[in-house]
């Protein structure tokens, strides 16, 4: 038993090493980081975190990120729910092709869309707002959410719909009171994936914002170039960036595998 657990333990330690290094760096001073190899902080400091929480240019980066990620997640899932229902329950002309075409939207690199989005949002006055980033991310996230939700919905027998109608439920009432709670796990997983892709995406987020809605990921790279080597500060910002993802993963941990299989397990 003990022998067998060595391999996974070593593997997990290996995986955790960069995260450990990031977290320890965030509690070190920049001088110590540059000074030499220290496995844990010699002069433990919370200054890096203090700076982030007191400087609006830093913490507003988090606010901006959370803002567009939240808008994007709500928007993507709200639009994907009826679409996924239609794909799962009805047959219509070209439904299979359209369903596949949705997924092909994910195959284009984000850089392709950076220029048209930049020009378009500048023209309509959305540039440098959370909405610009949120809307551009729906291009990738709605197809994904539709695929995930369709998988979960197809796992619900259509007899459930029929039973509800027989019981007297109208369609909207059935959808909200019966269907959505039935696929709650699927909605959670779809939200998580939308959150994750929007949270880690940087190219569009960086291109479509300037000052007001600059996301944290973009701020981190900018600071590296302007204010020299403030490595401790960057490490603290990085650590804080990991937290929302970890929190969301905790809530959907039991369903993530099914989500990666696009609900088809």
């Amino acid at each position: 038993m003990r022998k067998r657990s060595i391999v996974p333990i070593v593997y997990i330690l290996f995986l955790m090493l960069p995260i450990y290094w990031l977290v320890t760096m965030s509690f070190k001073t920049t001088n110590e980081i540059l000074g030499g190899f220290t496995p844990w902080p010699q002069s433990f400091t919370l200054d890096n975190y203090r700076k982030i929480f007191n400087d609006p240019t830093w913490y507003m980066g988090y606010v901006a990120s959370i803002e567009y990620v939240a808008i994007n997640t709500v928007l993507s899932v709200a639009v994907a729910l009826p679409a996924a229902y239609a794909f799962s329950r009805y047959r219509f002309l070209g439904d299979k092709h359209m369903f596949f075409w949705l997924l092909t939207n994910r195959m284009a690199p984000a850089a392709v869309f950076a220029l048209p989005f930049y020009q378009l949002y500048s023209a309509v006055g959305l540039f440098d707002t959370p909405w610009a980033v949120a809307l551009s991310h729906t291009l990738f996230n709605i197809p994904l959410a539709v695929w995930i939700l369709e998988g979960f919905m197809s796992g619900v027998p259509k007899e459930l719909d029929e039973t509800a109608y027989v019981d007297g439920y109208s369609f909207p009432r059935f959808f909200i009171k019966i269907f959505i709670p039935t696929i709650a796990a699927g909605i959670g997983v779809a939200c998580f994936f939308c959150f994750m892709f929007s949270w880690v995406e940087m190219l569009l987020a960086k291109t479509l914002t300037a000052v007001a809605a600059k996301p944290i990921a973009a701020l981190m790279t900018k600071t590296a170039s302007t204010s020299g080597y403030e490595l401790g500060l960057l490490a603290a910002a990085g650590t804080l960036t990991l937290i929302p993802g970890a929190v969301v993963i905790y809530f959907v941990r039991n369903y993530i595998a099914k989500g990666f299989a696009l609900g088809r397990v």
């Binding site: 027998p157 007899e159 029929e162 027989v166 019981d167 007297g168 109208s170 009432r173 709670p181 039935t182």
Partner: protein, 357 residues
């Protein structure tokens, strides 16, 4: 609550699912739709319930045309083969939901739910979620939800098919009791002839989207109008063989013949198809009129107190089902007694022309 199907058909993408059907189900009767899988039982039920619209034809309910009326406004209930319950509701909420939607007051709801739960022995489970129940309890919850409102029509689509043997027997006994003091029309779909016989009432035999016969169950069983109805209403499958009638004699092959009985005597001479149920072929002589045949044993099954034999005679397989233990070696020669007086005779168009059962 008379339900009438008038010239109803249903096709999807050019494929005919239901051929032209005329059917009248009287108020307060128990009706069985009997047919194999894919015979159109479920489609027919969806049309009856209003979950689907017929391609042509009309559906009348109590003298009113309800063809375009949505299912929500029809006051019907339905129970499926799969155990369909609302997973996030408790058993109580599940049963109460049709009344909640209809806007009944809390007192009425509680009284009705409690009485139905009592009837279906669900009282101790009312606080649980469907996933925490056994299969039988889940199906009883679905049944309770169907019974809680005063439906004009209750549709049961193979409700016992997914239950294990013992529960199925148990619920078979319970079912007629549940509908005893209601005046709703019950429609029960099943693939098993035994269930139809057990419930009595009326039976419609279905085959490939066509209602081949409809009438009181016993009558359909004893006097199927054609070969297909007889085959649908036969388990194990109906034995069939071509026979030749010459004068007073009926011949099966060159060596086997018997005297035509009253029903067959008046038929014109010619070829007929003999259909005979497995339990009218036995390895022992039941009546003096029985005709003996001999063939090779292909299959010999003993299940408890019953013996099933498959015997090959000149390329035709005869199935015998009899009480008692009658062991035979596979490959050996068996002598079977065919009670030909109990057989059906079908003409070339497969219509019943003679025979008693």
């Amino acid at each position: 609550m008379t339900l009438e199907l008038k010239n109803v058909t249903k096709s999807v993408d050019g494929a005919v699912h239901i051929h032209e059907t005329n059917l009248t189900l009287e108020e307060g009767t128990f009706n069985v739709l009997l047919g194999t899988t894919l015979s159109g039982k479920t489609t027919l039920m969806q049309l009856m319930a209003g979950l689907d619209k017929p391609s042509t034809g009309e559906i009348w309910f109590n003298g009113k045309n309800v063809t375009g009326v949505s299912v929500q406004k029809r006051n019907v209930s339905m129970v499926y083969q799969q155990f369909i319950n609302y997973p996030h509701f408790t058993v109580y909420e599940n049963i109460a939901s049709p009344l909640r939607v209809a806007g009944a007051d809390a007192k009425t709801i509680d009284a009705r739910v409690q009485s139905v739960a009592e009837l279906l022995r669900l009282k101790p489970m009312l606080g649980r979620k469907p996933a925490e129940l056994s299969g039988g309890q889940q199906q009883r919850t679905a049944m309770a939800r169907a019974l809680v409102k005063d439906s004009d029509m209750i549709l049961l689509d193979e409700p016992l098919a997914n239950l294990d043997y013992k529960l199925r027997e148990e619920m078979r006994d319970e079912l007629p009791r549940l509908f005893a003091d209601r005046h709703c029309t019950v429609i029960y779909a099943t693939t098993e002839p035994t269930e139809a016989l057990l419930f009595g009432g009326h039976t419609a035999t279905l085959h490939e989207g066509r209602v081949t016969q409809f009438g009181p169950t016993g009558e359909i069983y004893r006097k199927p109008s054609d070969l297909i109805s007889a085959q649908v209403f036969s388990d194990p499958p109906l034995n069939t063989a071509t026979v030749m009638k010459r004068g007073n004699e009926v011949m099966l092959g060159p060596n086997i013949s018997w005297y035509a009985n009253d029903a067959a005597r008046d038929l014109p001479d010619g070829d007929y198809l003999l259909g005979i149920r497995a339990h009218h072929i036995t390895p022992f002589q039941q009546t003096p009129d029985a005709v003996a045949i001999e063939g090779h044993v292909l299959v010999a099954e003993l299940s408890g107190s019953e013996s099933v034999l498959h015997v090959d005679l000149n390329g035709t397989t005869w199935i015998s089902q009899s009480h008692g233990v009658h062991p035979f070696e596979v490959g050996s020669t068996a002598r079977l007694y065919v009670d030909v007086a109990r057989g059906f005779l079908f003409d070339r168009a497969n219509r019943l022309v003679g025979g008693l059962a």
